[in-house]
């Protein structure tokens, strides 16, 4: 009894500065443990492997920068996958965000059924990442798929295999990405609600039309939200894997071999763990650099009304 009491006292004890260190660390302990065990240690391991020729079956030999040098100077597949991933990300993200913004503006009006529309239009986002949808996409755009059948109906006979066509394959993945616009749409909607109505009223008095209202009020006021969405979506764009793995399998002729898929192949088809680790670190550096660039450009186009206490 006495001992139990003392533990309780210990946990609830605060230092002179008002800190309660023991209780604080006790509560965040799950995260600290997970962070060290599943992130920090693996990251160091991966950094070490990237300087070795580790191949799962053999032991790891230190080879210095050889992996990195080979990737940069002598791996055309790497450069191909970088090119494809950049194209995929920087086409699909703006497409998805503009679609999300368009619908958010449409749904930010006081009309009947708007609440229902908002909910229903969010559905593709919740199922878009699933294998079921990936499998469906494959058939939709296949040679005998629904798209060709639809085109045939309106008199445009088409025997194109959209999935297998070198020019069209990547676009089927981009369309799938744009289709999942639900989350940014909801975030935009929340942002639109925060814009004070008085601004629009003032603009009407000044004789502005809807386009001027949109570009002079909506876009600047929404820019912090656009920024947030852009950063998050860009990062996840670089990570795209499942869709390319299932729908196009990286083909045809590596035209949809996105970075994550190439890395996966190196690691789990060829078991070149050292080489794949170096690829992973290059990805980390590229993503970090892009995030940094986006943040650096932020002051030019992101408008903050007041400095929050973040």
């Amino acid at each position: 009894m006495k001992r139990k009491l003392s533990i309780k006292q210990l946990v609830n004890k605060t230092t002179e500065s008002g800190n309660n260190n023991i209780a604080g660390y006790l509560f965040i302990l799950p995260w600290i443990f997970g962070f060290i065990a599943f992130m920090v240690i693996p990251m160091f391991m991966s950094l070490y492997f990237s300087f070795t020729d580790y191949e799962m079956v053999s032991s790891a030999n230190w080879i210095g920068l050889k992996n990195y040098i080979k990737i940069i100077t002598n791996d055309s597949t790497f450069w191909n996958s970088i090119k494809i991933t950049f194209f995929y990300t920087f086409v699909s993200v703006p497409l998805r965000l503009s679609f999300a913004l368009l619908l958010a503006v449409l749904f930010n009006q006081k009309r009947k059924f708007v609440g229902l529309y908002r909910t229903i239009f969010y559905i593709p986002s919740i199922i878009g990442g699933s294998v079921a949808v990936a499998v469906m996409w494959r058939q939709l755009f296949g040679v005998e798929g629904a798209l060709n059948s639809l085109l045939g109906m309106v008199g445009m006979q088409s025997r194109i295999g959209w999935i297998g066509g070198p020019k069209t394959a990547l676009w089927t993945l981009i369309i799938l990405a744009a289709w999942q616009f639900g989350s940014p749409m909801l975030i935009f909607l929340a942002g639109l609600k925060q814009i004070p109505n008085s601004l629009y009223e003032a603009a009407v008095i000044d004789g502005s039309n809807w386009w001027q209202k949109f570009t002079k009020i909506t876009l600047p006021m929404l820019s912090p939200v656009i920024f947030f969405n852009f950063v998050m979506q860009t990062i996840s764009g670089f990570m795209m894997f499942t869709q390319a793995y299932i729908i196009t399998e990286g083909g045809p002729f590596d035209r949809t071999l996105v970075y994550a898929l190439y890395l996966f192949r190196k690691a789990f088809s060829y078991y070149e763990m050292g080489y794949a680790s170096a690829l992973a670190w290059i990805l980390l550096i590229v993503v970090a650099a892009i995030t940094l660039i986006i943040f650096k450009t932020a002051p030019r186009w992101v408008y903050y009304e007041s400095k929050g206490e973040f």
């Binding site: 946990v11 209780a23 799950p30 600290i32 990251m43 499998v135 494959r138 909607l189 929340a190 990570m239």
Partner: protein, 281 residues
Amino acid sequence: MKKTKKMYSSILYHSLILIIGFCMFYPVLWLIASSFKGEGQIFRNAHSLIPRNFNLGNYVQGWKGFGDVGFDVFFKNSFIITISATFGQVLSSALVAFGFARIKFAGKKVLFALMISTMLLPRQVIMLPQYIMFSQLGWINTFKPLILPAFFARAFFVFLVFQFIQGIPKELDEAAKIDGCNIFGIFFRIILPNIKPALITSFIFSFYWTWQDFFGPLLYIQSTDKYPVSLALKLFSDPSTVTNWGAMFSMSVLSLVPVFILFIIFQRYLVEGISTTGMKG
């Protein structure tokens, strides 16, 4: 005059939404329709949304699965993985969020920033060493790599719950303290009941992400009888088998049923949850 103009704009508005909506939902409707079509019908008039006769044969065929492992096993595996991982993720994230939101301790700001930054870390960087670690622990071909890491909080959910706790007045904590509540009492009696919406939002997202996760099982699960649904669906289109499209569509539809049910029950929490995470970032 003004009234008719308003009516026209209303008709225009709703027709525009309906057209966009139809294009968007066409693929989903098509998937459902195809799952009821007989084998011959799937590719003849492939675009049609109305199967000639409702044919449940695909569902019967698909449910049988592969070899002697049926979809009852795949669904059971998916539920075991998803429910345990989701439980762990929500509980641990709530604990951590409370620690960050309500307790003052040394180094809090740095740790919080560190945690937020992990949201930007590409999964690929830690995937290989994690695989090596788990294989040395003998966890390959078990559910452990898919469940256990979930018990150590996830930054996204910590942030979501954190935001929510911030909105609960601190006076409640103070009052409870005066009444003799210690820090655990405050968490369990004051905070937990008040953050239900955030917990539900986290639960749904965690459920969705685990249920639909393909990459994790692809890495760690090898034998068919341990496959979750997501991996099993991929088996339909493996080069080694002749694809049974009808069966594949029908099981794809079934795999989305739990997702839709949760969505119908909890859509309000989802929509609100998403909105708040994005706004205060």
